[in-house]
Structures are given as C-alpha cells and as structure tokens.
C-alpha cells in the first residue's frame, strides 16, 4: 500500500498527508524518486522530518524539524483552498462507487455510531487536485453508497464542475488488495490492478459495489528491494504502520 501510494506521487509535488500509511507513502516517495516533494500537515506544518512514533497529527514527533510551522490558514487556506495541493491522502470508514467518503458515522441496525467527523477531510476532498484514499479492503467499507457523505468524490456521479467543486476529486483508492481508479465518464470506481497473491474474484467478492474485470487487469508491482529496505530501516523501523501491508 505504501509503495503503491508512493508511486502516485511525482517529484516537486505538494502533498497533504495524515498520520500512518499516507505519511509513510509520502516519505517513501521522497526518499526515492521524488526528493523535492513537500509534505504538509493540515495543522500548519511543511516539510517535517517525523521521528520516533507519532500517535497523531498533534504529536510533536510528527512535526519534528519542519521548515515551517504555521496554521490551518496557511496550509488549508493558502495552499489547499488556493488550489496548490497536488495530492491529498485520506483514510475512510467507507468509500462508495463514486469515491464519496464517510468518516462521520456508521449505521448498524438503525443504531447510529459517531466517529471523528471531517476535520480536514472534507476540505482535502473538496480542494486537492487529486485525492488518494488509503484503506483496508472490506466489503462493508466499500458500499454502493456511503451511510454519510462526509467528503465528496463525484456525488451522484456528477462531474466536479457540475457539483461546484474546485479540486479534481478522487484519483485512486489504494487498499491492501488492489488499486482502484475512476472511470472518466461514469465516474465510478474501476479496478486498475490487484496485488500479488490475490485475484479479481477475491477483490470483487470483498467490494460492496460492482466491479468489472478490466481487459487489461494488471498486477500491482511489488515494492523494490530498495523500497523495502528504506521502509524497514529508515521510515518505519519499528513496523508501527506497515505490518504486513507494504
């Protein structure tokens, strides 16, 4: 997942990351093909060099040795809202076929359970040039329609412009089983590649919305030995984020 995420980032880009795999993907890209990448944290951080094991966005370990400490207004206002963020990484409770994201609540048998809500999620989804969603691949987490549309992908299958949205919307969903993109016309999620060791059938069976088998279904490239080394030795030596899901 981290390697697949890193692969989507080009050198020189500006990227809003969160804690965990997005951060790992970003630093993997920065340590390999994209040294000029600028990672931003929504709280007001640019170009940090995280240390030890941060527990979240507010942990001093994640904003260690940044080159700028500012605030929401700089990072989310003067970068994201200004249209200058190339890629925003987001996690999700649920993502539906149009790339709409739910981070607010779950419904189980009429009972509503609340979660963290948007924080900067809706802002990133609304405003970044492209959004990459990183999440575990489970049928209930990839429904036809989200229980609560916290952060817009292509709501109602409409174009971003038609919805009045500024950013480019969802670009990839990267899971522990596959990489999905979005169809330019129907704006529904489509399979791009399945990870080694899984299959189209397994991915489709674990996806709540219908997936077509593409004619050119690819296998997600494995991380290179050098990528693995960097991940294991430099970025996440304690295997806090990676587990098996590199």
């Amino acid at each position: 997942m981290a390697a697949a995420g890193a692969r989507e980032l080009k050198d020189g880009e500006t990227v809003v990351v969160g804690i965990g795999l997005p951060q790992v993907a970003c630093f993997l890209a920065k340590a390999t093909h994209a040294p000029g990448l600028t990672p931003l944290l929504e709280i007001g951080v640019a170009n940090m060099q995280p240390k030890d094991t941060p527990v979240g966005l507010a942990d001093s370990r994640i904003f260690y040795r940044a080159t700028c400490w500012s605030g929401f207004l700089d990072v989310m206002g003067m970068n994201l809202h200004r249209g200058l963020v190339d890629t925003g990484f987001l996690g999700a409770l649920e993502v539906d076929r149009f790339g709409n994201i739910n981070t607010t609540l779950s419904r189980q048998g009429g009972k509503v359970r609340y979660f963290n809500g948007s924080a900067g999620g809706n802002d990133v989804a609304s405003l970044a040039k492209r959004v990459i969603i990183i999440m575990r691949h489970e049928r209930r987490k990839l429904p036809v329609a989200v229980s609560h549309l916290t952060s817009p992908g292509f709501p109602g299958g409409k174009s971003r412009a038609e919805s009045g949205l500024r950013g480019g919307g969802p670009h990839r969903i990267i899971t522990d089983k596959a990489v999905l993109g979005f169809d330019g016309e129907t704006r529904t999620a489509r399979l791009i590649s399945v990870h080694p060791g899984t299959s189209f059938e397994e991915v489709a069976a674990n996806t709540g919305f219908p997936l077509r088998r593409p004619d050119d279904l690819a296998e997600t490239p494995l991380p290179s030995a050098e990528q693995l080394r960097i991940l294991r030795e430099e970025i996440d030596p304690k295997s806090v984020y990676l587990g098996q899901a590199i």
Binding site: V55, L57, D59, W69, G71, L80, N116, A119, D123, T150
Partner: protein, 313 residues
C-alpha cells in the same frame, strides 16, 4: 524619543495576571466558549477542570478539532451546543463523550470541517459578518447544517464577479477563548511554539481572550523578538500562569502527553457510567490544578514527560 510605557520588568503592572479560580468565576452559564486545544495538544485542561469544578452549564463550545478538553466538558454535562470541525484523541481513541452525546442527542451539535471553522473564526477576527468557502459543497455535512442547528450559519451564494458557487459561512464570534501557550508576558503578549492550527484566528475572533501560559517572561524578553508575538497583549484580558496546565495533553517544547493517563481516561470515557468516576476522583476531588497534578502524577512521572531540549517533546 525616550522609551515610555509600563511592563519593563515583567511585573504585573497591568494587573492582568489572575488565578484560574478568579477567571473561571467570570464565565457565565450559557457562554460561548472556544477552546484552543487540538486533539491532545495544548488543550486548556486547567481551565476545563475548573469549569467543571464550578459546575458551569449550558455552554456553547466551539473548536476546530475537538480533543481532550472538549471531551471532558461534554462528559461532565457542561455543554448544550457543540460546534466542531472534527474530534480525536489521536491513537488513544475517539472523543467518546462527544460521540456518545451526538448518538444520544443529549446536546445540540453542528459538525463542520477544520477549514470552515477556521474561516468562520477568521471572519470573526476580521470583523466580517460572513466569508465564502469552497469546502462543504455537495456534502452531507452541508445538508445537515442546512437542515439542523446550523441552518442560519450557511447559505449558498455566488461570487459577485465570477458567478462561481460558494457556501457563505456566518462569522463565529465566541464570548471567551481559552488559549494555552508556552510563553506570555504580564501584558498578555503570547508566543506559540510549534504549529498553531486555528489558534490565532480563534482567539482574535473572541470577545474575551484568556491565556494560560506555561511560563511568564518579562516584557523586555517579548520586545527582543516582537515577530514571535502571535497574540498582542492589548487583546488579552487575563493571563493565568499554570505550569503543566495542559497535562495530560502535550505542550510542544515543554512536556509530552502522558500516554498512561490518556489510556486511563479513555477507559473511563468509553463507559458512560465510569466517566463520572473519573470526574469525581480527578477533577472534583482536586481543589485546584496543583492538587490535580499531585493526584495524577508524581514529580518523577512529570519529570519524565519534560521535553528534551533538542526534540521539543
């Protein structure tokens, strides 16, 4: 021209340095209180405990990303109306009390986003009654605000020049902002080390700014690097000097969060019955913040949390 003006020696010439108890007494029930914390960082915990000790009720509470401070106040039943962009205790868990209150409908709530809350504070700080934004559009967040407690706070609008669609947000003007900072002087000039999230806009949007500072420095020290002053003293009503005032949350450059105590809190917070055990024992059972510190941690534990000079945590 010779220097004039008070505050040279760092003495409290402006009379703004107050105790926690003195300040919290002046918070009326029903006030709109804004808290400067984010998740588990720089939360004004000392103030929140005192608000709970004084049994404040029916507060409106606003915050960009609700953290330990808000979760405690909601858990204690002090909040009637919650205006937040999100909520988290980072990897220690969700804001259980806040989420439960939303599930049971025990308070009125408005769910926003971090940037829309920041823009609303910015408008308040600038004296604009509204500000446009491109977030929220086509989301259920907006639909719920329009259909609920935020119905008079959002409105679809178009740019008068380009016709581009925006959501107009009403300015957010808290009655009182409680801001926890590392460094202030007796006039209220504040430095904030590390990232500042929406602290500047939030504080300057408020009618009253109350600062809790880890350290009070002479005004001479402030005058040496005035670029670092984030909140100028003339905007600040009172300064409370409270070392470890955000404990068990972290204050960059001063001390780290206390992981053990946060775990203990979350264990209590996830259970509606046990929240009150926590509040009874640790908050109501402590006469003030020093007593709370003595109850929650000994000097060895607090010393272990002290920030390393080079790391800042």
């Amino acid at each position: 021209m010779a220097p004039t003006g008070p505050g040279e020696a760092g003495a409290d010439l402006t009379g703004k340095i107050r105790t926690l108890a003195e300040v919290v007494k002046t918070v009326p029930d029903g006030a709109h209180v804004a808290l400067g914390g984010f998740a588990i960082a720089r939360n004004p915990i000392a103030v929140v405990h005192e608000l709970i000790r004084r049994n404040k009720r029916n507060l409106t509470l606003s915050q960009g990303v609700a953290g330990l401070d808000t979760d405690l106040l909601v858990g204690a039943g002090a909040v009637r109306h919650l205006i937040i962009g999100g909520g988290s205790l980072d990897r220690f868990g969700p804001v259980h009390c806040v989420n439960r209150a939303r599930e049971t409908g025990s308070l009125v709530y408005e769910d926003w986003t971090s940037l829309s809350i920041c823009f609303r504070y910015l408008a308040g700080a600038l004296g604009l009654s509204f500000i446009p934004i491109k977030s929220l559009i086509a989301s259920e967040i907006l639909a719920r605000l329009e259909g609920g407690a935020g119905s008079d706070q959002v409105k679809a609008m178009q740019c008068p020049f380009t016709g581009e669609p925006y959501v107009a947000l009403k300015a957010l003007v808290p009655d009182i902002c409680f801001l926890h900072v590392q460094i202030a002087d007796a006039e209220g000039n504040c430095r904030i080390l590390g990232p500042r999230w929406d602290n500047e806009e939030q504080a300057k949007a408020a009618k009253r700014i109350i600062v809790v500072a880890e350290e009070i420095v002479p005004t001479d020290e402030i005058r040496r690097e005035p670029e670092r002053t984030i909140i100028p003293g003339h905007r600040v009503e009172a300064i409370i000097h409270q070392p470890f005032g955000a404990y068990p949350a972290s204050v960059f450059g001063c001390y780290d969060y206390d992981a053990n105590h946060l775990k203990l809190y979350v264990e209590h917070a996830r259970d509606p019955a046990r929240v009150f055990d926590y509040i009874d024992k640790y908050i109501l059972g402590s006469s003030d913040h020093w007593a709370w510190l003595a109850k929650a941690a000994d000097m060895r534990q607090l010393s272990a949390l002290k920030a390393e000079r080079n790391l800042g945590y």
